[in-house]
């Protein structure tokens, strides 16, 4: 069971449907590891069900039921195939597997990596919606991410291995969450590489001389 969870507000926004796609991808992926957060989301969805019963009903047009009934006749008897479920023993949780196109066989073999500094890579794959973006972050055993600060929120979900920062240690399924303008640096455990889903809302600003170079060439 994970020890570090998304903030309660994030689970709430996810259940209410107001959370945007990129952050929702991280929350849905965390749920694959966390029975406790799944239960909380189910409770908040039950709240949505109660509110749906309470909403001021709006009469629908007279022909709407007939229009739907006519479509039932055309509706395929068999359901359209469900989106891909990752194979057992894969390292990618289902929502992330599908976001990557469902072609990875649950592993990371098909992911292209761009080296940022020695030991630190970002995936060529990314998902950007509005001001938010997601990609994968790979840290070699013992590698550390250069110190950086950022102007908006940043989150990491651990997919393999583990890392530590100023605030704690994060294992598979854990979520690390950083408020704007919180300098932090993650260091992967020494005994193996660590891959995370990285979600952020704005481009980061690296600090220091190395940061000056990184800011010119990379989003991170």
């Amino acid at each position: 069971m994970p020890a570090h969870h998304p903030a309660p507000e994030l689970l709430f926004d996810y259940a209410a449907g107001s959370l945007r796609e990129v952050q929702a991808l991280l929350v849905a992926s965390h749920l694959a590891y966390c029975a406790e957060c799944r239960r909380r989301v189910a409770e908040l969805e039950a709240c949505g069900g109660v509110l749906l019963e309470e909403v001021a009903a709006e009469p629908v047009s007279d022909g709407l039921l007939d229009a739907v009934l006519a479509k039932l006749a055309d509706a395929p008897a068999a359901l359209p195939p469900q989106p891909a479920t990752p194979p057992p023993n894969g390292i990618l949780p289902g929502p992330l597997h599908r976001a990557l196109g469902g072609s990875m066989g649950g592993a990371l073999d098909g992911v292209d990596w761009v080296r940022i500094v020695p030991g630190i890579h970002l995936s060529g794959w990314s998902l950007g919606v509005g001001t938010a973006s997601a990609c994968l972050l790979r840290m070699a055993a013992g590698a550390s991410v250069p110190a950086h600060r950022h102007t908006d929120h940043e989150m990491l979900l651990v997919l393999t291995g583990a890392f530590s920062d100023e605030f704690g240690r994060y294992r598979v399924g854990d979520v690390a969450s950083y408020d704007p303008d919180t300098p932090h640096h993650a260091v992967a455990d020494r005994d193996g590489e660590c891959v995370c889903l990285l979600v952020q809302d704005k481009p980061l600003v690296f600090t220091g001389a190395l940061g000056w170079l990184l800011n010119r060439g990379f989003r991170f």
């Binding site: 309660p8 849905a28 694959a32 799944r38 039950a46 069900g49 009903a57 709006e58 739907v68 989106p83």
Partner: protein, 191 residues
């Protein structure tokens, strides 16, 4: 089995029965009854979230068609009929109106061994839970009820609620967390 939606008898979770009749028997009468109950509510939900009349009715069609097609995935142990249809309406609205994908966890997605089923304590009387939850929501202090409704009905994440209502973010979070604590009591957290 009676297929009348009998709201006078609180012991009969009849909307759930109607859904099961659609799932098991492709029962069009049951589907009509579900439509009569839920179509105006789904339309009201869409309108509250800013859809115009035409877009709201298109969402209703989309949701009710999905109810017909996916009724076999409804499990009354896990959710009430209203909760199940709420999640469909929420997700279809995100797809259609916001034009984003909705990342969802599927039943086979668990990364935990032997964890396909929810905890046993949740597999009881989802419909009865709903009535306790309704009472809790009704009793929320107005400022807590307000943040709840803004999130569900105005498509605002909590930080946007803060900006638009001119309330500090910390206050929004506090109100939300207080509301969530009260809501959790409806789920027998004392157990």
């Amino acid at each position: 089995m009676s297929l009348q939606a009998d709201s006078n008898d609180p012991t009969v979770p009849s909307l759930e029965r109607l859904l099961l009749a659609v799932a098991q028997g492709r029962d069009q009468q049951a589907f009509r009854a579900l439509f009569q109950h839920f179509a105006p509510r789904v339309k009201g939900y869409a309108r509250k979230l800013g859809a115009d009349d035409g877009a709201a009715e298109e969402l209703v069609q989309d949701v009710m068609l999905t109810v017909w097609q996916r009724a076999d995935t409804f499990d009354p142990d896990l959710a009430s009929a209203a909760t199940w249809i709420y999640t469909i309406a929420r997700n279809r609205r995100i797809d259609r109106i916001r034009q984003e994908r909705r990342p969802e966890l599927h039943p086979d997605d668990s990364m935990l061994d032997g964890d396909g089923a929810p905890p046993p304590d949740h597999q009881v009387q989802a419909a009865q839970e709903a009535s306790r939850l309704r009472a809790v929501i009704g009793d929320l202090p107005p400022e807590q009820a307000e943040v709840l409704r803004l999130a569900y009905y105005e498509d605002k994440v909590h930080s946007e609620i803060s900006v638009e209502q001119g309330i500090p973010l910390g206050t929004v979070k506090t109100r939300l967390r207080l509301a969530l604590v009260r809501l959790r009591r409806a789920f027998g957290e004392e157990a």
